[in-house]
């Protein structure tokens, strides 16, 4: 047990969980996590990501499916036998124990003697850059420091998997970035397979090697951050990760690489079919991100009327209403001549490049 440091793989194999009241919490989730990877479970609240984390940790016994860590099916093991380290959202430090005792708690449970425990706790506190806090109580530490202690405590048991439940949600913005870098550094040093549960897409995209997007208990997509952002497989992923414009249209022609879509707004564009090929003449929803639209001068693109221009610092966002009444946002990087546009001004819009739009079969 003592030498299972880092690098263990994690397989979530067809896991389904139903709450006692019959509600489906997660449905047929499959994840194949390589040893040493950082994975983010991303989704809105209530999507089942925390349930999945608690299943992996062993606090919830799933209705169906298996959890495999390394070569072991861990389903029969209670949480205290799984060697899974958890950092809770509120850190859950033991308020009556000193920082050193908190960090050494897992070692004490394994029967490690006090001197070794203290030495190991000190080593870990140095790792998380809190070497002088050993004798303090948790309430004497700031939020960021408490989180470092929670990390050290989880790492002390040399976990095969590290689970972080919304670890940065309680921190203010500047501290959050510092801690994200810190966690990533510690993860690289230790090489421990890590799962981060988060509803913050920036956090997921910046920290994780791969992102699993969940919605209503189902896995929408599992891929690299650029897969998820640039090649979303579902409409949900496209709208939840980043912001996007949804424009209705009809498929004129389609093959695997691209589809020609006639937008209701009035022009034809080339879009990437998100799921295989699209049926000719079928209705689709085309997603174009605000930063992928540009103003054009000639008769290209589609027409619209400026509703409002918002200078947001580095970018200027224009709200445009198209001929069919669809509201569209256009984001322009701000440089020299970029200016806000008069409300009511007529403009024409087109995508920056053809592959930047994604087409999904319309559900309604």
């Amino acid at each position: 047990m003592a030498d299972t440091q880092g690098g263990r793989s994690l397989v979530v194999d067809a896991v389904t969980h139903r709450f006692p009241n019959g509600a489906l919490a997660v449905e047929n989730i499959n994840l194949d996590v390589k040893g040493g990877e950082i994975i983010a479970l991303l989704g809105p609240s209530g999507c089942g990501k925390t349930t999945l984390l608690r299943i992996i940790a062993g606090f919830i016994a799933q209705t169906q499916g298996r959890i495999i860590i390394g070569d072991d099916i861990v389903d029969p093991l209670p949480p205290n036998r799984r060697a899974v380290g958890i950092v809770f959202q509120n850190y859950a430090l033991f308020p009556h124990l000193s920082i050193s005792e908190n960090v050494g708690y897992g070692l004490a449970a394994r029967g490690v003697d006090k001197a070794t425990r203290q030495r190991e706790a000190q080593r870990l506190l140095e790792l998380v850059q809190l070497p002088t806090m050993a004798d303090r109580l948790p309430r004497q530490l700031s939020g960021g420091q408490q989180q470092r202690v929670a990390l050290a405590r989880a790492l002390a048991i040399k976990p095969s998997i590290l689970l972080l439940d919304e670890p940065f949600a309680a921190l203010d913005k500047n501290l959050r970035l510092d801690m994200q870098i810190e966690v990533k550094r510690l993860q690289r040093v230790s090489g421990i397979t890590t799962l981060i549960v988060t509803h913050d897409q920036e956090e997921a995209l910046s920290m994780a090697d791969r992102v699993a997007v969940l919605s209503h208990g189902k896995l929408e997509q599992f891929g690299t951050p650029s897969d998820v952002y640039d090649r979303p497989q579902t409409l949900f992923v496209n709208t939840f990760v980043g912001s996007t414009n949804r424009m209705p249209g009809t498929v004129m022609s389609s093959d695997r690489t691209g589809a020609k879509v006639r937008l209701d707004a009035g022009s034809e564009i080339i879009a990437r079919p998100a799921t295989g090929s699209l049926t000719e003449g079928g209705r689709v929803t085309v997603c174009i991100r605000p930063e992928h639209l540009q103003f054009v001068n000639d008769d290209a693109g589609f027409a619209g009327v400026i509703g409002m221009s918002l200078p947001l610092g580095a970018t200027v966002v224009h709200e445009v209403t198209t001929a069919d009444g669809t509201g569209v946002k256009v984001s322009q990087a701000r440089f020299g001549e970029t200016r806000t546009l008069e409300s009511g001004a007529a403009v024409r819009l087109a995508p920056l490049a053809p592959a930047l739009a994604n087409a999904f079969p319309a559900t309604l």
């Binding site: 062993g58 949480p79 205290n80 809770f88 033991f94 449970a109 109580l137 989880a154």
Partner: protein, 287 residues
């Protein structure tokens, strides 16, 4: 009641509103207590000679001291039984659904809703020579002669523990409810089993509730005149009955007053030990 000054601090309140209660306490608690103390400082029943003779008499009389000792021990035994039986109930309460919680609370509070005399007589029915326990054991053939349960220390402890149980369970439920459930999950995920989690996390963090419950139970148990007298019978003498005999039957008011003061101080001493333990627990784990 006059117009408030313009720059009044809105978070402070006048002490005037507390005056009625303060007067009430002054007239019906502090004054009688002082009178009691004054009374105890007389060497004779007529109240003519000053002195500390009553205190000396109590403290040099082995019988009086044994009554005090057995009363304090009775309190300790009842408190221990209440804690041992009450903690699992409170622990269970935090882990069941809302419907079962209602049932548990009802069962715990039920003793408070019946008269203490009725409850005590129920115990007489249960514990008596021909009582429910003896009748059951005899019909099962487990005993030949009835067990002596009534008029024993055991009987008094059991009956008092039942009567005082709410005073232990309610503070424990509150204290256990305040413990973040993530702490138990954290302990478990770090490799601790349920017993280690109970000893190292749940018990230390519920210490404020344990101390509050123990203090209340203890104070209530040693002063429970009716239950002590009815279940204890003539053979067992505790401080409240001793005091009653001296005051009512023997009309020895100065000695009864001295007993009261000594009893009061003894209880205060025990309660302050509990409180000191509580203060200690707040710095728990500093080592």
């Amino acid at each position: 009641m006059g117009a408030a000054p313009a720059a009044r601090d809105v978070t402070s309140y006048g002490t005037g509103l507390a005056a009625p209660l303060a007067l009430f306490f002054l007239a019906f608690f502090v004054a009688p207590l002082l009178q009691l103390f004054w009374l105890s400082l007389h060497n004779d029943t007529a109240g003519l000679h000053w002195g500390i003779g009553q205190y000396l008499q109590f403290l040099t009389d082995p019988f009086s001291l044994s009554v005090l000792g057995s009363t304090l021990l009775l309190g300790a035994a009842v408190t221990a039984v209440c804690l041992l039986l009450g903690f699992p109930i409170a622990w269970l309460y935090q882990r069941v659904g809302p419907r079962l919680q209602t049932v548990i609370i009802l069962i715990v509070l039920l003793p408070l809703l019946t008269s203490v005399v009725v409850r005590t007589f129920a115990w007489i029915v249960i514990l008596g020579r021909q009582g429910i326990i003896n009748a059951t054991l005899q019909s099962l053939g487990m005993i030949d002669t009835p067990l002596r349960l009534l008029y024993t220390q055991f009987g008094v402890v059991i009956a008092l523990a039942q009567v005082q149980m709410p005073l232990m369970v309610l503070p424990l439920i509150t204290a256990l409810g305040r413990i973040d459930s993530n702490l138990e999950d954290a302990s478990c995920s770090l490799g601790a089993g349920s017993w280690r989690t109970l000893w190292r996390i749940v018990l230390p963090l519920s210490l404020p509730g344990i101390i509050a419950g123990c203090t209340l139970t203890y104070a209530a148990a040693i002063t429970a005149f009716i239950t002590q007298s009815l279940i204890g019978g003539g053979q067992m003498l505790f401080m409240p009955m001793y005091l009653y005999q001296q005051a009512s039957a023997l009309q020895n008011w100065p000695f009864a007053a001295a007993i009261s003061i000594i009893f009061l101080l003894a209880v205060l001493a025990v309660v302050s030990v509990f409180t000191a333990l509580g203060r200690l627990s707040r710095g728990y784990g500093g080592a």
